[in-house]
């Protein structure tokens, strides 16, 4: 839980690590949308939170006034000296134009539908194996026994890392995206094992090149030159971190929804053709990911006195509940036809792994409801949610019904 003091008013002192926000942010965002479309906090060195679809879209598409050099808010307020521009620490997510496009084009082919669809049988057999392991159990943990194991197995295979290091990957993810309120010195110290691990993997791939993303990044050339090692390293970190608890959270939140919504569960079981539309509504309603930007210069923007290096938290999940854009925005409608949700962001930084995430989510839900057509939450109060910019259930006890 957060070590920060409790929040008095989210309009002037918001904190996405606050327990109230972590447990149920939606009423907070609804209140902010009505009261002040852009909330402010002095925490984390100063940060803004646009709560409307309009505000989120405007900033996401404004790469002049906002930079992506840092995308995870933490206590180490960047002053411009410590973050390499224009690449950033984890290209392309931390890159700005024009370099951004170069870095993005390098990884998009591997994440396009062709190669991702080819992974589907492997994801399906992984899900079946996990379900086999929990067979005969009356209570299963949708988070710890199921959702959390699916993305690491896929990502480690793509990068060519040993699958048995799954637990280690989750600890890296926790450090980067959950342990956000630690003092900055502590974050740097705890990050060292991540760097050490990646160095070992890079060395191993140099000695034994193979058909995976790590070897590809070490080998690929841009304008006749191999990538800087910082670039290779940063993209590997990005794929590992961004590919794991995002999808894990989406799978968990979807199971959580189905466990407490028997009518929706029954429809999905009985109408498999509904799945593509239902998946998008699950993504809209429980979008797990918020991303940060940094303000590029002192300016008045959307009526707010923004300062250079203030953080912006882009609440894509909040935009997805904006009643100005979505009819009955606060209602989950499993067959919602109009659904321009922003679960994968908007503009040039659209989640590069969205095809993979969507496929994993769909297959994980298909296999779970095939094995267990009826289930419910065992104890709603026992469900815990991950703090920070990636939100999803961690402890998710589910009772299997006959």
């Amino acid at each position: 839980m957060s070590i920060n003091p409790p929040v008095e008013d989210f309009a002037t002192d918001w904190d996405h690590a606050d327990p109230e926000w972590v447990n149920n942010p939606y009423p907070i965002w609804e209140d902010l949308r009505e009261r002040c479309p852009v909330a402010h906090t002095e925490r984390y060195g100063g940060a803004w939170f646009p709560a409307t679809h309009e505000g989120v879209s405007k900033i996401a598409n404004d790469t002049e006034n906002f930079t992506s050099r840092a995308v995870i808010i933490n206590n180490g307020r960047p002053d411009g000296e410590d973050i390499p521009a224009p690449i950033g620490g984890a290209p392309p997510i931390t890159s700005d134009p024009p370099f951004h496009q170069i870095a993005r084009r390098l990884i998009l082919p591997a994440l396009a539908p062709g190669p991702i669809n080819a992974l589907e049988p492997r994801v399906r057999s992984l899900c079946v194996d996990l379900l086999d392991e929990m067979k005969d159990h009356k209570v299963v943990n949708g988070g710890m026994d199921y959702a959390q194991h699916i993305p690491p197995a896929v990502i480690s295979r793509m990068l060519g890392f040993p699958e048995e290091d799954e637990e280690l990957f989750r600890s890296f993810v926790h450090l980067v995206v959950n342990a956000i309120d630690l003092p900055v010195e502590q974050r740097i110290e705890q990050f060292q094992p991540v760097i050490d691990y990646f160095e070992i993997q890079i060395e191993d791939h140099r000695a034994n090149p193979r058909d995976d993303l790590t070897s590809y990044l070490l080998d690929v050339e841009v304008a006749g030159e191999k990538l800087a090692i910082e670039h290779v390293f940063g993209t590997m970190i990005l794929i590992l971190i961004a590919g794991i608890d995002t999808t894990w959270s989406a799978i968990g939140a979807s199971l959580w929804h189905l466990a407490k919504s028997p009518d929706d569960l029954a429809r999905l079981v009985n109408e498999p053709n509904l799945m593509p539309i239902a998946i998008e509504e699950l993504l809209r309603f429980y979008a797990p990911v918020t991303m940060a930007r940094l303000v590029n210069k002192d300016m008045e923007y959307m009526g707010c006195p923004m300062k250079e290096y203030d953080w912006i938290l882009l609440g894509f999940p909040a935009a997805n509940r904006d009643p100005k854009v979505f009819e009955d925005a606060d209602r989950f409608i499993i067959d919602r036809l109009e659904n321009r949700h922003l679960a994968f962001g908007l503009g040039i930084h659209r989640c590069a792994g969205s095809n993979l995430a969507r496929m994993e989510l769909r297959v994980a839900i298909e296999e779970f409801i095939k094995r267990y057509p009826r289930f419910e939450l065992m104890d709603p109060d026992a469900v815990t949610w991950a703090p920070g910019q990636i939100r999803g259930p961690r402890n998710l006890p589910i009772r299997i019904l006959s």
């Binding site: 084009r105 998009l108 082919p109 994440l111 396009a112 539908p113 062709g114 593509p276 539309i277 998008e280 036809l337 109009e338 659904n339 321009r340 949700h341 922003l342 994968f344 908007l346 503009g347 040039i348 659209r350 969205s354 095809n355 969507r358």
Partner: protein, 64 residues
């Protein structure tokens, strides 16, 4: 009537080819591509509208 993707606006969310795989495909970078010349008939117009209503970048249009 024809369905068209504005390639300047498309960011590869993949909503069109997920929702309407008979009308849309994708290129090597994962951007949406209209299959054939995009001419719509009474059966495919609804699918094209569905894709249009799901594109977060408003990149899909239906031309008379």
């Amino acid at each position: 009537m024809k369905v068209v993707i504005d390639t300047e606006l498309c960011q590869g969310h993949g909503r069109c080819f997920t929702m309407a795989p008979n009308l849309f495909s994708f290129d090597d970078l994962g951007s949406g591509v209209v299959i054939g010349d995009g001419t719509l008939n009474d059966e495919t117009i609804e699918l094209a509208r569905l894709a249009q209503l799901n594109c977060p970048e408003h990149a899909i249009s239906i031309e008379e």
